[in-house]
Each structure stands twice: as structure tokens, then as C-alpha cells.
Amino acid sequence: NTVAHIQNNVPASTLNLSQFNQDQVNQLIQQLQQHIRFILLQNRQGKTRLAKYYVPLEESEKHKVEYEVHRLVVNRDSKFTNFVEFRTHKVIYRRYAGLFFSLCVDITDNELAYLECIHLFVEILDHFFSNVCELDLVFNFHKVYLILDEFILAGELQETSKRAIIERMSELEKLE
């Protein structure tokens, strides 16, 4: 039962891949992988302030996803878990003032780790903009994307040191 294997996160090596053709194998492997599918930063009204997709989606699909994720997280009680199941995946979200940071990950992935990840990203933004507020993110959206690109790449964590990222950003700013 392939699906069960995938959901139990058994490595591909234990699957009998010979019965599938190459496309199917690739598809299976892509399902097997655990990485961030997309990152959303939305305000309470549902306006998207940042949307980064690590999987190819149609534009219309992206808008739908953004709408749905907002609907899912916006009315949740603060005492509830920071995890909501979203289609076949899972959204890990955290609210900071009026902003929701949401990560979509595999259903079997380590939720707590991604929660920590969101917090680190917020700390970096806070440090970079010194006391970040929504307006900073609106007017400097391109910088937010650049910071994110130094933090996460290909849906994976690239750097865990806040200082390293801030330093890298100031190096890059000098080149402008």
C-alpha cells in the first residue's frame, strides 16, 4: 500500500518502485518529500502581504489557496493548536498582532519545528526593520522577499542564525 508508506514516511528505498514507470516514481518521490509548499503572510482582512510558492500552482489556484488558508486560520481561537489540516497537507500558522504567518507542509512533518521556524523569521524581520509593523512589509515587500530567500530556499531552511542573515542583508544592500 503505497499511500500508507508515504504517510508513514518510510523512505523510498523500501517501496517497490519497479512496478511503476519513471513518471510515477518521480511523482511518488515528490509526495514523499517533506518540504515547505508555500509561505503566506496575510493580515486579518485576508490581504496577502507575502506569498511564496515552492510548488508550481496556477495563478487562479494560488488565489484560491490564499483565500482558503485565510478562512481557515482567521477565526481560530488563540488557545487552539497552530495547526490546521488543509486539503492533503497541513498549515502551520502563527499570529503576530494583525498578521498571520502560514506555512504549508506535509501532513507528517514536524509541526513544532515549523512553528519555531516562523518565530525565527519574525525575529529576523523585527530585527531588520527594527520593530516591524505591517506597513514596513507593505512598502518594503521586495526586501521581505529577499530576506525570505536568505532564510528559506527550495522549501528548506537555509540558515538558522539571525545574525548571519542580517549581515548578509546589509552586504547585499551595499551593492545597490
Partner: protein, 872 residues
Amino acid sequence: MNSIFSGTRLRDMIRSIRACKTAAEERGVVRKECADIRASINENDPHDRHRNLAKLMFIHMLGYPTHFGQMECLKLIASPGFPEKRIGYLGLMLLLDERQEVLMLVTNSLKQDLNHTNQYVVGLALCALGNICSAEMARDLAPEVERLIQFRDPNIRKKAALCSTRIVRKVPDLAENFINAASSLLKEKHHGVLITGVQLCYELCTINDEALEYFRKKCTEGLIKTLKDITNSAYQPEYDVAGITDPFLHIRLLKLLRVLGHGDADASDLMTDILAQVATKTESNKNAGNAVLYECVETIMAIEDTSSLRVLAINILGRFLSNRDNNIRYVALNMLMKAIAFDDQAVQRHRVTILECVKDPDASIRKRALELVSLLVNENNVKQLTKELIDYLEISDEDFKEDLSAKICSIVEKFSLEKIWYIDQMLKVLSEAGKFVKDDVWHALIVVISNASELHGYTVRALYKAVLTYSEQETLVRVAIWCIGEYGDLLVNNVGMLGIEDPITVTESDAVDVVEDAITRHNSDMTTKAMALVALLKLSSRFPSISERIKDTIVKQKGSLLLEMQQRAIEFNSIVDRHKNIRSSLVERMPVLDEATFNVRRAGSLPASVSTMAKPSVSIPNGVAAAPLVDLLDLGSDDIMAAPSSSGADFLQDLLGVDLGSSSVQSGATPGPKAGADLLMDILSIGTPSPAQNNTSSVDLLSTAGINNNPSNALDTLSSPALPHIATTASAGGMFDLLDGLTPSPSKEATNGPAYPPIVAYESSTLKIEFTFSKSSGNPQETNVQATFINLSPNTFTYFIFQAAVPKFLQLHLDPASSNTLPASGNITQNLRVTNSQHGKKSLVMRMRIGYKVNGKDVLEEGQINNFPRGL
């Protein structure tokens, strides 16, 4: 950066968009901006390019189309300066994705930039590639990326490593090329490079067996040491999170160790100590610590058996489960599902806590807990757990009822200890959450009820009581009216009382009230109404004293806006009115439904049956005579024609709607030299000489609707204006013919051969066939048919051949045609002689095939003729 946007035009635009009070106003501003940007793009001024693109990105984020800016990204990427490239790549990642053709144009620029002398430019290219590369780009650029993994600057190394993970995800065959480079990264001290290196190794291990073996052999010890070092490291402010040094790196390392230890006892053995250390020493009062513990537990459970560690892991989960933080409880539930596999007892101990979680206000926790509970169910606790869940079903949120009821149903079905228990539980679920119950579930319930003959009376009474209270639960109503239709007599006469029942008094009219209520309620759907109509027909025979009232109700449905209902009402009315002598046998109780067949069909493992289901032959998902009637003349099927010389048995099988492929046994039993009336009885499931066939057809009825998600699908297809519709009306006429033929009074058309009107037997855009009839003198069974073939096209048909097939009760003799060439607008004739051995009982039916060549091409036309005049 500021210099790029110094014109503050980007800021101005954002301000003016933010100042908009209405969506319409915003659209206006955006439209104007887009127009300006388009104009500016057309002027092709390189100075405005990056500003335009930045604006476009913002507009894109608001959800407006920006595809016209895609080429600008490519131009910016191709420009020499870093600031331009930077904004170009950013635009590329936002406005394009891997599926766009435009992306292929950028491969060359990417290749150049990956080899650029400025390492910041290399960084940009790696980042873009890592985020959006397609399989094709991955193949083209893999060598560059592999080389960059060894680059001197750590910022490039870590980007190249993650870029490689994307490449091997896209093209797993490339994995081998990265094994060496990846293993070199594991020796890094730089956390960023190390974590990306570990990630790349993990990816390679999941994709490639060779890689897994390689890393297992060469790197397990090194990774364990690295984990030890960071676990025991002194306070490092840069990486410290809540007292733990770099929890992210911890987690990545544990994850990689999990893959290496899984299925390998030696590697698992090596990591036992460090896992025990992490499991016992990690602080668990903050999220970061719990994240590490969580990952550690998962690794412990995945590697080869080290039972002492597993005890540790289960204890951690127990602690998690009693944590006040909902997040922690959530992950505990998640992990306990995996723990069940090797320590069911330990998980069972937490059953009470887990059941509490099913009732949590947080939907995420509820869902997990429900999954877990369903895994915990066994023979010993099923009754208690089901009771708890059903009790909760009564008070749960509406939006949770669907999941909950589905789970309860699957538990109850899986562990149905006794039929009465199963029926009781299902009735409770249907009463509380009937509108959420899937079709296959209530179909299965009907099959079980049908098989539990000793419980028929009990069930129908229980359903009657339930439906009075919960009349808004659609599926409950359906099951109830089905049972009342079948077992209505048991309901009113209190037959088969069980000791546990309180006697109730239900009059015949009370029972009809329930069914009538279902058919008249405006929000009942088509399936329910159709089932109610069938139930009424059955009751009209079961309750002769009030059959006039029932008839009135049926007659009212003649005015239904639903074609199917209208037609059935007319048919049923005719049965009640004119065919009293066969009514009681017609609406006899359904034969016991075959559970095994149903289950196989339900599992969808019979592909053959799926194809038969595609036919619109069965409509009302309730097994009564009316539905097979539709089958009876379902001539719409396109099975292969029998040649005129053949016996016509195939045709008859078609006629009966018997599946040729799978049911030779049944079809062997049905046709043949029996008298036509018997045959018809068979078909109508009256007289019950062949139960096998009855069973299959009734199961079909259930499973058809079961396969379709929408229960009224089958009905919809029937009432759609396409071919199925025609088939239906044709069959309706057919039914009356057949029934009329059955009436004891002989047919009106006597023997002395009145003139039969000619018919148009077939007409297409190119060919028309007319039949004229004459009776042979002396033999009323014999009819002479002259067929006239008229060519409607401007081309000549050559090698014209007409073939026909008839059921067994007919005999067909074909004379040679007047010619085998049919000129344009001309005609040829051919004589046929048909002998009807069931003369006066059955009408003629015929299936035909016409073949010819036109302009050297073979043409084949097929058709059925069921508009023969009566009495031939």
C-alpha cells in the same frame, strides 16, 4: 536599494492603492498603473525597467494579472548590474513558475550567472534555480550547481546544496552525481552549510538506495558525533533557542539518522546512546525543546527495535498527551498513531484521555483524536467506544458530524458483532447524522437488513419510530421507506416481536403517512421520492384496504416536474389499476440481497460491473420490478450484432439487459424455448424461478448509486435528453406492450389481418429504410416485410448488405435484395419473412446492421427497430 526606487514612484503607487476606499477605486488605480507600465515597456527604456517590475510585483500580489511583465524579468536578468539582476530574479520567482514556456528562455542567463565572477550574482542565480527550476533546467544546470557545492564562500555552498535538493527532487536520476559533494558538506562547521548538507543527504537517501548505503556506511558515526557536539555544546547566543543550541540542526540530524537507522540494526545500534541522551536531557518546557523531543521520538520509533528506547519514547508521548498546550497534545496524538504499531497496550492505557480529545473544541485535535480512536478499537472495547462516540455525535458541532459519523459507521461495520447491534448502531447514526452518511453506507445497511430475516419486523418498527422524530435526516428516511415498503405488513401487525421491544400500534394509514410525507416534502431529493413511490406501489398490494388512497398519492405524482417520477407514476398507476391479477406477485418482497456480491461491487474491484453501470438501465435505487423493466428494452447498448442467420440468442440477452461477459450462467437460464409469459415473469422477478438473476439485478441497483457520488446521478442520466432518455421512453412503451400482452383478454387485433401502417424503420443522414407489412394468408404468425432502402446521399453505395437479428421467439428469413448497388437518390428493396411464435403476446423487435462502401470507404450503420405495429 533606495536609489532604485528613489523616484518614490513605487511608494506613490502603493500609497494611492492603499488610499482607495472601494475595490472599484482600487481597480481603477491598478488599471491606470498597468497602462502606464505597458506604455513604458513599449518605450523599452532600461532605466524604468526595474521600477516597473517592482510595481508589477506589488500589483501581482494584489491578485491582478501581470503576465505582460514576464519578458521584462528576462531583460533585467540579462542586464549586467547586480541591482537589475536582483529585481529581475525576484520578478522571475514571483511572476513565473516552472511550467511557463518563457522560463526556458532564462536557462542560458542562469548558466552564465552561475559562472559569474561576482559571488552575489551567483547567489541570485542559485536562489532562483532552487525555487523554480523545472526538470529540464535541472538537467541542464546540474553540473554547475554540483561544482558550486565546493565553492569557497559558505553562502554559495549552502545555496548550492539546497538547489541540489530541488534538482534531485525534479530529476531523481541525477542523485548519484551529488553523493560525494553532499558527504563533504557533512564535515562543515558552519551551521548554515551543515544544515543544508544534512538536508541534501536526507533527500538523496530517500531517492537513491546507493546513496542510502553510502551514507549509512560512511557518515553515520560522523553524524552521531555532530549531534553529540551540538547537544552538549556550551551556550551559543547566535544559535540558542530557549536553552537549546540550534534546535533546527538537531531536528535535521535526527531526521537523517532516522533514515539511516531504519531497516539497519547496526546503524540503529550506534545511535542508541545519543538518542537516549536527547530524549532524557532535552528541556521540555518550551516549544523548541518539544520540537526536538518530538523528532527524537519519531526517530526512535522508526529505527530498528531497541525496546528500552521505545519505553522512553512512549513515556514522552504520555507526557505530551497530558500537556496543557494544545499543540503538544496534537503532536502526541499524531505520534501515538504510529506507536500503536509496536505497543498497542501502552496506547490503550491513554484511551480515556484520547476520547476526551475527540470532544475538544479545536477541530484539529478532534480530527487527530478520532483517527487515533478508530485505530484503538478492538473486539473488547468496540461496544463501549461506539457508545461514547454516538453519545458525542448527539451533541457535536454540525461540521464535525460528517467525519464523526463516517468513522462510527466504519467502526460499526468492521466490528459488527451481531446483526442487531449493527442495525441499532446504524439507526442511531442515521438518526443523528443521516444527512452526512454516504450512499454506500446506507446501501450496506439495507443489504444487512435484507439478510436478517428474523429482524425484519424489529427493524421496520425501529425505523418507523425513528423517522417520526428525525424526518429531516435524508438517509434515515430512505432506509425507513424502503423497509416500510418491503416489510410494511410486519410493521402494522407487530410480527416478530423481540423481547426487548415495547409493542406499538401502527395502522396501515400511519405507515402510508410516513411514505407520503417523504414524497411530498419539498426538500426530499429525487432518490428519496423515487424510493417512496416504489414503496407506495408495494404498500398498495400489502394494504389492500387503503389501496385507493395510495393510488391517489401515486396519481398525484403524474404531475411531478421530474420526468422519472412522472413516468413511474403513470406506470405504477397502470399496475394498480389494470393489472391487479399480477400486482401482488409483481411487488413481492425482494429476494435476499447477496452480501458478498454487494461487498465486492462496493469495493469497486469488479471492473466489468463498472461498465454495465455506465448504462442508464437501472434507475430507482431500490430493488423492485420497475427498474429491471427499464433494462428489458434497453436496446441502446452497442453490443456486436448477430448476423441474420444466427439464432438471435445474443440479441435476446441484450434485450434482457443481461451482461454478456459475466453472466453466461444466468443468460443460459433465461432465454430459450419457454413460453413467453414465463420468460417475462423471469425478467420481472416474479414467480422467482431464477433467484441468482434476481439477486444480481437488485445488487446492481444498490451499487450503481453507490458508485456515483451523487445518488440521483443514475436518475439524472435517465432524464437527460440524450440517448438514455430515448431508451427510457422506448422501454416505457415496451412495458405496456408486454403487460397488455399478459392480460387475459386476447388482443384486439384478431386473425383476419387488418392493414398495418408502413413504418420508417431507420433513418440517418444518408440512408432511410421503410418497412411495409403484409400478412400471409393462413398463418397469423407469419408476416411479410418489404424493406425499401433509400439512398439520401449524392453518392452511390456499393456492396450494400443488410443484416438483421431477432430474439428467439421470432424466426427470420431474408430474401436476396433487388441489387447490391444503391445509386444516389435511388432505392432497392428486399423481402423479409418473420414468424412470431408468440403471436398475440409479443410484438416484433429487430436489430439490424447495414454495411456498404461509399467512395471506396467502408461504412457501417446499425439500428434497432421497436416501432413495429402491434399485433404482428
